[in-house]
Assembly symmetry: D2
Homo-oligomer: 365 residues x 4
């Protein structure tokens, strides 16, 4: 059974492997008439570029986006939009060792079982973080769609390892700071601490995880198709498709479990003739439907499983216990690169639901 | 756009409202030849019955399951299985007040917007926790399917309000104790504390939330269809469809964010000729595919939004700020009733993926 | 794998068997705010009632429609609409014989293989023409939806056995005459001939087939989502789900194969400021998208496989050649009863696409 | 709403336009472990190449297939397979005229309405017959899958214009002759007549249609998921997605309408210990499920709408009646090129259902 398409009105189909020829996305359902250029997509793609920082993998990924279909004379045509980036600079040799020696924390073993050993294991193949480039390309289109209804999607790092963002940051700080430091944190001071946390792990041949918060502003009330296509369940599903995500929460999230109803409920007020909530512990979603308040969602990322420390594993051929020591380039923390991916995922889900609701219509003019 | 069906090989379609005629489920894709009786379904349904306890709503729900189709002479036929419970003992009067005065924390306001005021608001209508009875009926069939491949699904309360389960409990304790106390906790002592926490909230006219942990044992390695139909993303989507769930995590979950890779990675070992992980911080899923280890998932429930304390809200007709005080029967904590629902959700997702993988085949003999 | 749901924005899920407890439909995606009553549905259901005519089966089907969900105070709520009819007057005894002796032309053998002998074979079970009652209930809702955009769906018998409608009939003749004769033909004279054709077959213990033409008027240009959800492919798929349909054609259909391009192409003209086609060999669909002209589709029905003549078959238990002679009530021609079913199928597909196009919106006011 | 994906277990997503950069297909759900090479796909692609014949368009289409993903070291990996052909030799100038002057019989007008004039109209854009190259690429993979269960798919031209195949041809004649003449007819003599029919139309600046018959051999009994994913309804849907198809029939098809039940029913017999039908008016499908007999389906193609004769149309800008005379290269009959496309469509549907049934499993070894 397949599993490489997602969405109902806006359907994303992905293909490609880490060390194959391309990483690609087909986005189907985008209305005709949306102005879009290669540069629009490239700008989003560049956000996930590791750059020269010591805290990210040394793999040089130029990631030049090509649009293969669905755009004509600068506008979407209503036909499916296929976008690809080509894979370059790939050194597959280190992966021969892991073919039968699954790396702990990676999908090597599960993919081996699921695909009977036929999976392309080079660079993690289909399970590489690199596949999220496809989400980002599609998300760039989704963001342009959302701009037509004034919806803005933000994301920022709120935790790396033991370092947490300790204060509320404004949307403006997020807009201004996130892509101006290597860890994608809205508070420049905390960003420095986060960077140290990563570098310390790197020195130890280890890695760290973290938490990314995504925010969608100006989402109209009424999006979501309960009971099963509720906005939160669709968004959670999409976020769990980012490799390394182990938890997703909305609004007060896990903290809601220890709150009283009288604390957690968000009272309504009429402000300027509109219904608003006084606070937003609901994270902008009630009953699976948007409330009109900002949508707030957090995804927790486990530490990168690729570490250079010696690890215990097995040899699937000889069925013996062995040790492995991984060489090659690995991000000691993938959280910074996940920030634009979280943005993309949120944008895709809200765009899908905006189409379903008819808030974005099938022809844009 | 619709949103009341879920699953790919095993498709659950739900219908019905809290104070309408019935709550119903159509389960499509169940193989022919599965022995099933009304009593099998009823047994699961009875697990979510509030009973005579002071800590649950006083609504008397007999919830007699009827099978309308898809079963003949004690076996599934391969045709869709429709199951219903009829609604009785419904007092819709208290809900007239809330038609235009949305209760904070409930879906009243969002449903009003989404359905233009045409939604059946009585008892929360389609957004009532009562709709999860449909999940439980369908989940009962899924559990029977899973038994044919020896998969067992458990769930237990690990937190209510500020009271947490403070030690590891064995699967046997879960099997033995969970449905023998009112809060569905595997540790009888903690269960008493949890009960006190609920009663205290009740006395204050308030409510509490909590956390339910679900476990699936003996799930074969290799289930899940990445990248978008990964086992965790499907399970998260299903769990977020339970009203009041605000967070979902697998294995180490949010804690993974502050762990090092060397801590979080689960090393593999050969034990009795089989590949197993030494520990299970992954929660039984890597790369969206089951590892063969127990699947561990936790869902956080916010406190019941229905409280008797006075709350601030608005009148959607007059567009004025008002207060409401809710009367009627409400669970001060819905967590205990959610335990069998979590079991059902997990069972449905694993059964779907087992069918997709061909591990459960289309005719059972 | 499941197969009992169809549609994308308007999803129909069906359940029930010929001799089970009910025949049911869940229609999901119908906008909130559509006025609907039990009587609306019943009126469509009554169109497929065999009545007292000698040309139809003697099974007395009162078929009282019950709405179980999704309608409140006379309006759709936006929640899934479950409708059922209960099965009465069922004599299952004659079917014991056929359990292992598949009737030629029926699904007995294929269902036996597909469901491993667990299928409910009584009265054809899930393969009975009776399941189309579910299409009619759902189609009744679809028709009401279409009325809000002025779309009208008609159907009429154009052939029974060797008797064909030999002239063009007007839409008014169809509206006026079809449900005023037993064969659902718009030309009363031809209707008499058709009736004789059926009676002759009946006397011989045999059966006849026929052709039903469906028409949709005032369908706006631009419906259809090529390349795979084209309007014709979706309509064909739906029509082939009516038992006994063996062929479907649009506009000139099979005749187009022997036409020249210059004959078959429909020239455009401006009439009253609107683009219209001079003729309609396309049947209202080009490139899978509606042209704004009437949609014309024809479905060919094979003769009822149930005949009282002796037939050759096999015994699946003893694996020997045997003969069977069927007793019991059978329609010598199911075409008349299929006419409202064709209407329902067309209405469902156009309503689905109207929702997808945003021409019918998610809240009707 | 999208519409460029089809299938449930084997999902085909298509993209690309006639004069865009590529025509592409993503096939998702193909099991891991299927040996596949670029040449396998190319061989099928070459079947639809017009070649040097006077009866086909002069567009030189080399159509070199490239596999972008999903295949590693000669085997499918279980990941989605993306295949493309690049577009070359395209002269888009003649299409500027038709931008606002829709060609009768083409999708120009309906696409203009559907996509608000943003569609890529060059060469018919997304509505060109050229998009069927994507079906053929995907169908080549499906055929290889089917070979593992011994299923063979054939197709042949049975009618062009007024010339029909007048006798039954054997499967061997089809295998031997079809791709050895320009019209893809199994009878070489009739092939000559068909060719004359095409040439006559060509001389007149006109075009002709025809009928293609598809056959699937050795399809196991029991494929199909009624009531809505019946094998015939899925196959009809797929075939109607080939541009120019206006009718589809199975087995006796339209002729069944004038047959008696005693003629049309296929009696069963035990032959060599297996259940077979004495004849096959059902076309290998009963109740939407395969009978084990050959599947026989016919698709009628309308004449190519592109003709050089002067035609009446309208100018969508000025809203005036105008005439057009088309220049450029057009096939006077697309039926020969449709033959491998029909094969591909049939193969895709049967492969999808074979996966659903577990007859082809998710890992091939």
């Amino acid at each position: 059974m397949n599993g490489n398409s997602i969405g109902k009105a806006l359907v994303l189909t992905c293909f490609g492997e880490s060390h194959g020829r391309v990483i690609g996305a087909v986005l189907d359902g985008c209305p005709a008439g949306l102005p879009i250029s290669r540069e629009d997509i490239q700008a989003e793609m560049d956000k996930r570029r590791p750059g020269a920082s010591p805290i990210t993998s040394r793999r040089v990924e130029e990631d030049v986006v090509e649009i293969l279909s669905g755009v004509y004379r600068g506008y979407t045509t209503g036909a499916p939009i296929c976008m690809i980036i080509k894979n370059r600079d790939v050194d597959s040799k280190p992966y021969e060792e892991i073919k039968y020696k699954p790396r702990p924390g990676h999908a090597d073993y599960t993919a081996y079982i699921r695909y009977g050993g036929f999976n392309d294991y080079r660079g993690g193949g289909r399970f590489s973080g690199r596949i999220t480039a496809a989400y980002v390309m599609a998300g760039a289109v989704a963001k342009k769609m959302l701009r037509t209804i004034n919806v803005e999607v933000l994301a920022h790092t709120v935790q790396i390892g033991r370092v947490k963002l300790r204060r509320e940051v404004s949307y403006d700080e997020i807009r201004r700071n996130v892509y101006n430091n290597e860890v994608r944190c809205a508070d420049p001071e905390v960003a420095e601490e986060m960077k140290s946390e990563v570098l310390e792990a790197l020195r130890e041949g280890d890695s760290v995880g973290g938490v990314v918060e995504g925010i969608a502003l100006n989402v109209p009330a009424g999006l979501g198709d309960p009971i099963f296509d509720s906005l939160d369940s669709d968004m959670a599903k999409m976020l769990f498709n980012i490799p390394a995500v182990k938890a997703v929460e909305f609004g007060a999230g896990f903290n809601a479990a220890s709150m009283k109803g009288s604390e957690n409920n968000d009272p309504y007020r009429i402000i300027n003739g509109k219904v608003v909530a006084e606070k937003n512990d609901a994270g902008g979603i009630l009953g699976g439907i948007s409330t009109g308040m900002p949508i707030i969602v957090r995804a927790a990322f486990k530490p990168t499983p690729s570490i250079s420390k010696r690890q215990r594993t097995v040899d699937l051929n000889s069925m013996e216990n062995v040790n492995i020591e991984l060489k090659g380039r690995h991000d000691p923390c993938i959280v910074p690169r996940a920030v634009p991916v979280v943005e993309a995922c949120i944008a895709l889900v809200i765009a899908d639901h905006s189409l379903r609701a008819g808030i974005i219509s099938r022809i844009l003019k």
